[in-house]
Amino acid sequence: MNISKYLRFSVFVLAALTFVACENDDDDDDDTPSAVNEEELITDLRLTFTSTFDQSETTFIFSDTDGPGGSDPLIDDIVLSDSTAYSVSIEVLDASNPNDVEDITEEIAEEDEEHQFFFIPGSGAESTLTIAYDPTELDDDGNPIGLSSVWTTLDATPSGATVRVVLRHELDKAATGVSDGDITNAGGETDIDVTFNVSVN
């Protein structure tokens, strides 16, 4: 090899080295892989019952602070009095970090056209409990949201009675029956789907 050959070879090596400077090098530093940034999560559903009879307040909670998987959620049994009307308000929380509990209720209220709660009594609660949307709480299209509702107990429930609380988003509120609380034609995606045991004494 003569000198000019070495020269050409070193040009080649230099050209090759420029390839190595890849665009994603900034992600390839020597730091320990960084910590996880958890995104917003719904962990808690709180139903606060205010009796129209004596204004007493009771709160029943579904709580799964570690999210899907892990330990089982804690679910309160809803206990109500016979022949009473309750106004029920709903709170939705992200309590995954106990030091920084985030209230998601506000955000649902802001995007009210896209969200709706459904309340579905079952296993004997159908005939002993009626649930209606608060007629004063409407979105801009005049459809219900369900953050506020009225539950009226008629009679004692048989044992095993339940109420399923569902929150759907991007649903079709104009579909048949949906604004009356019938979930059948609602479509959309489920954000919350929780079943409480309920007993009316």
Binding site: F19, D27, E189, V194
Partner: protein, 771 residues
């Protein structure tokens, strides 16, 4: 074709001249069996024997046109002046363009490969613009796992993901392969050859090639001394999209041996259409490029290679569901998907954004005629961002920009290999090292980790009587440091595994064919997601739970491949079995209650699994210019521990294609048309269907079957396709129709079979111009 030599022996009068000769493959020099040799003027002819020898007797002196035809080669003619006994050698070039997409089982001396089954460049022309997994389908035993129609993963003999490795340009491709919605990040335009190797030949690359290794080989940078290149275009009516690619390669100057190759490709598709509706958000776009430089010294070669892959793919909008109730309503048709008659190129949430970058440097040095050393370093960066529909309630502008799952994987690989070849005996010994770092951000699913792995291998090939033997062994030690949230940054959880892989292959030449037998054992350390994944898998509505107690998986495989030519018919048949000990799989175990309702929980568990099956290909010529190719792909799999069936095992498939090729019509070279039929059976060996109704009635107390799927396996289906092609000078043209009858069907191997039909009729046009 070239005529290598004509020896005039002695002049003779009358018609007693004899022409002896052999027809050989121009590439390998091997005799081509049963070629037909005809003197057109006298119509005298003969067939060559199994090693290509032929003899024509009683020839009169004179001028003749000698025509040689062989399956897989373009018929060639040569003008001969015959005045006496003559010996000639024909070397024929395989011309894939007139042949079916028949695969080549090659024995390439430079790679010492015994069991390589592949698809070559010319055959790949028929699938330009498709995804890599679709291009590989011409390989016997190769199938696909799809997620919608924008994501396709290769499946070989029933195995996929972490068990089927992909090698791009000689480098083990490193991405998030554990997910069935994570396809290989490789530009299909890059491939000049796509092939599969199994058993002993895979030992050089990895200890964990339990299901084999898919090799994607770009053109050799040293392949062309002059400037050459190609332009490729593809357009399709379904999806109203297409792809464009260009490649340029050559040698910089005659004075010094610097070679280069550059390549770029782009792809864009909009919403696909079933026979009835457009599938919302099923578009895709891609922009890729690569370049390579090579220097060839007297005794050494050096090359650098860089490739960059960028893809954005829409995920079918109505595949993301909230919970089991939503899934049930869609599967049973209670709720119908609001698909539309409006076509769109828009890609909205949910979508994936994928980037992959590969840099490789390779040096090869010839110590002497018998010894060679090769060193390779490569670095890969893989970025995978998954954007869900569900962004959280009332998201901020920043939240709307961010992916819900964001993986960044960096891998460094180094290899040093020594090769020695003395006559029929060749050996290689090598060391490999790997370092991998995975960073994950987003919804809780998987911890961050670092891996290092060290391997040592030795292989040998020798002749033993009529057998060619190749055997090898590999030791690998694998370490993993697991960080947040399993271990802390200062005190990661450390796991290590080690083991030995070994394999033996034996090949025997038979009369006009050969037989290859192979036995192998590989092992695989449990992947980090299998150990520690925890969380909700959207789209399938299931919770996945890792298992930190998992042991390493070990496979024992046996296979036999038989090739034979019978006159005008060729047969390639493979039978295989793969017993996998401590097979890691997701087992449905329980129903878990979350605030979004009930979800089935799948736990990573281990069992013993048995895979077995057979792949058969028959092709041949019926008469002049009329040929066929028939294939059968059969695979079975079973959980040996419980007798259950696994989910997502391909159903049996049978296909046949008839092809008519005409002689050249002035400037139109080798025009052809073909008609094909493809029948896929129902997967009868599918798990039980999830008992939705009783789960909704009784909640989490419902007893579940030991294995289940969310819907029954779809019915079998028959698809018809047609194609036509020709060459015009340096340009080749190909017109195709897929799903000609616009059959409505669902594919068991598509994870979105719960939600959507497969695409309907599709017309394609493919053009390639070489210069």
């Amino acid at each position: 074709m070239s005529l290598l030599g004509i020896d005039h022996v002695n002049a003779q009068d009358n018609c007693t001249i004899q022409i002896d000769g052999q027809v050989v493959d121009a590439e390998t020099g091997e005799g081509l069996s049963f070629a037909s040799v005809i003197l057109q003027e006298s119509s005298q002819g003969a067939y060559a024997d199994s090693v290509g020898f032929f003899s024509l007797k009683g020839i009169c002196a004179g001028d003749y046109t000698l025509k040689v035809t062989h399956i897989g080669c373009a018929p060639e003619k040569k003008v001969l002046q015959v005045s006496g006994d003559t010996t000639i050698v024909f070397s024929l070039n395989h011309d894939e363009s007139i042949l079916h997409e028949f695969v080549v089982v090659g024995q390439e001396e430079k790679e010492l490969t015994l069991t390589k089954i592949g698809v070559r460049e010319a055959q790949l022309e028929s699938t330009t613009g498709l995804q890599l997994a679709e291009q590989a389908l011409a390989i016997p035993g190769m199938r696909m796992q799809e997620t919608g129609n924008t994501i396709a993963k290769p499946v070989f003999r029933g195995l996929q993901g972490n068990r089927l490795l992909v090698l791009n340009a000689g480098v083990r491709q490193e991405g998030q392969y554990w997910g069935s919605e994570h396809a290989p990040e490789i530009d299909p335009f890059l491939a000049q050859q796509v092939s599969v190797i199994e058993g002993v030949d895979a030992l050089r690359y990895a200890p964990d090639a339990i299901g084999g290794l898919l090799l994607v080989e770009p053109a050799d940078v040293f392949g062309s001394d002059s400037l050459s290149g190609s332009l490729t275009g593809m357009g399709a009516t379904n999806g109203r999209g297409g792809a464009l690619g260009g490649e340029l390669m050559g040698r910089v100057s005659e004075r010094f041996p610097l070679y280069f190759r550059g390549q770029i490709s782009a792809r864009k598709f909009g919403d696909m259409k079933t026979p009835d509706v457009f599938l919302v958000n099923t578009g895709a776009e891609e922009l890729n490029y690569s370049y390579a430089l090579g220097w060839k010294g007297d005794a050494w070669k050096a090359e650098v290679f860089y490739s960059n892959f960028n893809q954005r793919i829409g995920i079918y909008r109505f595949s993301h569901l909230g919970n089991l109730t939503d899934l049930y309503e869609v599967i049973t048709g209670i709720r119908s998907n609001p698909d539309t008659t409006d076509f769109s190129y828009d890609i909205n949430r949910p979508y994936q954004e994928i980037g992959h970058e590969l840099f490789k440097g390779r040096v090869e040095y010839e110590l002497d005629a018998e010894n060679k050393i090769e060193a390779i370093y490569s670095r890969q960066f893989n970025s995978r961002k998954e954007f869900d529909v569900h962004v959280g309630i009332n998201p901020s502008a920043e939240e709307l920009m961010n992916p819900q799952l964001d993986y960044a994987l960096t891998t460094h690989l180094g290899e040093l290999v020594w090769r020695n070849k003395v006559g029929a005996l060749s050996r290689s010994v090598g060391v490999t090292g790997l370092f991998r770092e995975n960073t994950f951000r987003g919804r809780n699913f998987m911890p961050n980790y670092r891996n290092s792995s060290f391997g040592l291998f030795a292989m040998e090939q020798r002749a033993l009587g009529i057998w060619k033997l190749k055997y090898g062994i590999r030791y690998e030690r694998y370490n993993a440091d697991i960080f947040n949230p399993v271990g802390s940054e200062d005190d990661p959880l450390n796991l290590s595994f080690d083991g030995v892989s070994a394999a033996l292959a034996a090949k025997k030449d038979l009369e006009s064919g050969d037989l290859t037998l192979s036995a192998a054992t590989f092992w695989r350390a449990p992947a980090v997601n299998e150990l520690f994944a925890s969380g909700l898998h959207h789209g399938v509505g299931a919770i996945e739970q890792g298992n930190s107690e998992l042991l390493q998986e070990r496979s024992y495989s046996l296979s036999a491949t038989w090739r034979r030519v019978f006159g005008r018919t060729r047969i390639l048949a493979t039978a295989y079995t793969n017993y996998i000990e401590n097979y890691i799989f997701l087992n449905p175990n329980d129903i878990e209650l979350t605030i979004r309702g009930a979800f089935p929980r799948f736990d990573y568990e281990q069992t013993d699994a048995l895979y077995w099956g057979s792949d058969v290909q028959v092709d041949g010529q019926l008469n002049k210019g009329f040929s066929y190719l028939a294939t059968a792909s059969l695979v079975w799999a079973q959980n040996v521990g419980t007798g259950d069936f696994f989910i997502n095992i391909p159903a049996h498939q049978f296909s046949v294609e008839f092809k008519k090729t005409w002689d050249d019509l002035s400037r139109i070279k080798q025009p052809w048309v073909s008609l094909s039929g493809n029948y896929t059976t129902e997967q009868y060996r599918a798990p039980a269907v999830f008992p939705f109704e009783s789960v909704f009635e009784t909640g989490t107390t419902t007893p579940l079957p030991s294995s289940f799927d969310f819907a029954a396996a779809p019915d079998g289906y028959f698809l018809v396709g047609a194609r036509a092609g020709m060459r015009l000078g340096r340009t080749s043209l190909q017109l195709g129709v897929e799903n000609l009858l616009s059959t409505t069907y669902r594919n068991y191997m598509n994870r979105f079979r719960y939600y959507m039909d497969e695409p309907g009729i599709n017309f394609t046009l493919r053009i390639k111009h070489n210069f």
